[in-house]
Symmetry: C2
Subunit: 139 residues, 2 copies
């Protein structure tokens, strides 16, 4: 039996969604990188345990370059300095577009899902017929 656990069909990653997830968390309120990552791990794990934390920092940097978030250093506490991120109006516009995109994703997936289910059934009954035809010869 073929092992399907390393096949993308196992669906361990759904990477592109990290970006709207970050925007969503920051739309709820300002947070520093580590807290964003923790929040995403806690609430939005899409089958995967831990979306790579360095990836989240990288996205935050990228999003700052693009003006979707702004950051400021916060040292008024114990522990290492925190880079606190806040969403901008541009970031909110981006999130609004993400919402439309996510709706399209969801609808596209639903459509594919229906097609896959119906095709799967069709193929299975076709294979059953072949097996019946060849019936007594095999095994």
């Amino acid at each position: 039996m073929l092992d399907l656990s390393s096949c993308p069909c196992a669906g361990v990653t759904l990477d592109r969604l990290i970006q709207p997830a970050i925007l969503t968390v920051l739309a709820e309120g300002p947070r520093h990188g580590y807290a964003v990552a923790e929040e995403i791990n806690r609430r939005m794990a899409f089958g995967k345990e831990t979306p790579d934390i360095s990836g989240i920092y990288r996205f935050l940097k990228l999003m700052e370059e693009r003006g979707l978030v702004v950051s400021s250093w916060d040292v008024s506490h114990g522990g290492p300095a925190r880079n606190c991120y806040e969403i901008t109006p541009e970031g909110l516009r981006c999130l609004a577009q993400w919402i439309k995109t996510l709706e399209r994703y969801r609808d596209g997936i639903s459509k594919l899902l229906r097609a896959a289910r119906s095709a799967s059934k069709k193929a299975e009954s076709r294979m059953k017929k072949i097996r019946l035809k060849q019936g007594h010869r095999i095994t």
Copy 2:
């Protein structure tokens, strides 16, 4: 105004889904590569006009290596030779797993969508308040 058309939030690609789309088309019946690509373009374009055709050929090759499909050359017609692909029982198992994965994707996206909508509203009313406070000073 920032141009969001080249941002992934524009959602031009939803790449990983090409694989279950190929399996779905082949579960409906055997087809050669070009026909698979056309069918996918015709029915399953997720916002993008043409999912790269060479990518579809590449996936078909990969899927054959993995035993999900089998191919045979067909020259009984005009035009260049066609490599005809057929789904295997392994391929059907893979498609069955894809169906479960797609359900998880859809549910994950729905969850993110709800969070994004609520966070977006929250952030907007927060920004409105700030604008009211600073009201007369700006503009």
